[in-house]
Symmetry: C2
Subunit: 364 residues, 2 copies
DNA sequence: CTGAAAGCGCTTACAG
DNA sequence: CTGAAAGCGCTTACAG
């Protein structure tokens, strides 16, 4: 393969100049730059990432950690993040935890990531104290998406899960429902994954504000999956006297619930109303009423917030983050990834999308 | 950060010996290895990937290219591939084309991948002649999944799309259907993405074998998405005299079709039967009859086939592919990634899963 | 604006 | 089984 010396020789300059010209540094004359670019083009030169990283100290790579890429929210986030990162000239190293506890530990605790990436994005990744220690030792810039994980000093992009849950529950209350079930995650989960506890809290708050007392017999635990929602609903129905409405903590749970209801001979929404959270691709198709959350936008925004400080840092050194053929990273912002000031999370809006799965309860 | 010299000093050996001991090379005495491992442990040493790659010439990284990570098949494949790769000590660089033509070109045509990865996995990635040339110049080992993309000299893992489609169509024929519609990809697609053409062929073959002539007015084009299936079905119904059954080229199309039918006041399967291909997570829940294909298994198998030759090559050099803490790559196989012998694709089995979305046509 | 030279942190023949 | 030394291909002060 052609190396930087080949380009230097052909262009009649030093390798240092080739390096500068190719990275778009300002300290190269236009004429020289032109000759270098032509030579690189002619030789089909591409920089060796390993060498560049070793010499430059930056990897141009971001680790993105998700619980399960196959779930709608995570797939959608990763798609948006991938686009942003590659556009900015960064590589995306994917870590899919796949529900395997030991994998989370290996990803977060080994020094694996240390010299491998410039920054870390954690999407709804449950974190234990030991994980936080490991991340602190890693001393890399990072960001989290979703309230599932909070790392001291890292910014966070998410929705207001409590408010979203309140809105969903209030929608059912407004329709006249009083026996409203909830299906969400396991509250005894030892991991600090707060999404489901937040949504459960919003549900209970809305009930209380309406003068109702949450009924533990209507509060079900489930995985955040279609199958989990299905099972939880079967169990719920087995308890006798079904609710007139179900607030599912995510659309996948809601879909499972709809199926279980149908299998039990109950119609949605005539017999039981169902509402979820997400606005999954399928939700429109299934007529599922939901609290829509901007998954792709959370991914894009988090990616931008993560790269901005990197870009700023590179600029200070007279450098540029982007690869030669990639667009520039958006203008640096005031955000600092490290530092003592804990920043408040960036909260993106959700909105109620009413479809066919919710309606007034039957007049008994 | 601690470097290899720190470990060498603490263990009282040379950096060369540290390097060998840490990678599990056989040419290190047990006692020395123990001391080195203890020193590395004590210092929390982790090798610098950039330095290791530059010196060693291997990146320990695989590029995985998918059209859209958000679609069931691709998410499921990536999840399985990710697990296998990380288990074997490899990093996964994710490229999501996202339906953007220029992205495909940039990913495949630039020398971007050349010094960045050891191997490439292309999942149902449409390839033009120019792309094939670029891949050939890259001269990296690779593998493809799905018939969508075929690269000369690369192995391929897939299902038999023609047979799967025949089975699906025959299922409908066996139930007594005669007016069977098909919804699949755009046949004029200039990209060599053959999945939908293969499935269309199977559909037509099954009809002909039953003595029926394929009716172009029952043959619809669609994106491989829920929304695409929905739109195509709306259009199909607008043509008047609906079919008694629909064979959708994938489950996502089938789901869109079911919705459109429901919206049109038609019942599934009483008025119209629907069958898909995939066995999407949601299919069981929706009661969708389908031709199940092993997505995760295709990913795992392809990952293994891709790494085996790399492992073999490393072994020849007295090396080992896996990282110190990772498991060994499965035993090398006879497969050679380069070489003139075109290997036949590895075909994984599919199977008909009958659920509630198919039944006999109404007696008119 | 440009170049010579050191250095990034490893791995690999080579020699013993 | 082990070490000294070269070299992987860049980037970065430093000097001019």
């Amino acid at each position: 393969m052609t190396r930087i010396d080949d380009v230097a020789r052909l262009a009649g300059v030093s390798t240092a100049t080739v390096s500068r010209a190719l990275r778009g540094l300002p300290t190269v004359s236009a004429a020289t730059r032109r000759r270098v670019l032509a030579a690189a083009e002619q030789l089909q030169y591409a920089v060796s990432p390993s060498a560049s990283r070793l010499a430059g100290g930056r990897t141009g790579t971001v680790a993105v950690v998700v619980p399960r890429i196959t779930r709608w929210f995570f797939g959608t986030v990763v798609e948006a993040v991938e686009e942003f990162l590659h556009h900015a000239g960064y590589d995306l190293l994917l870590y899919n935890l796949g529900g395997r506890e030991q994998v989370r530990q290996r990803v977060l605790r080994t020094a694996n990531l240390h010299k491998r990436v410039d920054a870390i994005m954690l999407v709804a990744t449950p974190l234990r104290p030991a994980d936080l220690t490991a991340l602190a030792e890693l001393d890399l810039p990072g960001i989290t998406i979703s309230s599932g994980s909070t790392v001291p000093g890292w910014p966070c992009v998410r929705i207001d899960d409590v408010a979203a849950a309140r809105t969903a529950t209030r929608h059912l209350l407004d329709l006249g429902h009083r026996r409203i079930a909830h299906i969400s995650g396991d509250p005894d989960d030892e991991l600090a994954f707060t999404t489901h506890t937040d949504r459960r809290r919003g549900y209970q708050e809305a009930l209380r504000r309406a003068g109702l007392r949450p009924d533990p017999r209507l509060d079900m635990e489930s995985q955040f999956t279609i199958d989990g929602g299905n099972q939880a609903t079967v169990e719920l129905l087995a308890r006798g006297e079904p609710p007139t409405a179900i607030f599912a903590a995510c659309d996948e749970i809601a879909m499972g619930a709809m199926t279980a209801l149908r299998d039990a001979g109950l119609r949605v929404p005539q017999d039981v109303s169902v509402i979820g959270v997400d606005d999954h691709d399928l939700s429109a198709v299934l007529g599922l009423t939901t609290i829509a959350q901007p998954a792709a936008e959370q991914g894009r925004l988090a990616a931008r917030m993560l790269l901005d400080p990197l870009g700023a840092a590179a600029a200070e050194l007279g450098g540029v983050v982007a690869e030669p053929d990639a667009d520039r990273v958006p203008a640096p912002r005031a955000t600092r990834v490290h530092g003592p000031t804990p920043r408040p999370p960036v909260i993106l809006p959700t909105r109620l999308v009413v479809r066919e799965s919710t309606g007034p309860p039957r007049a008994n």
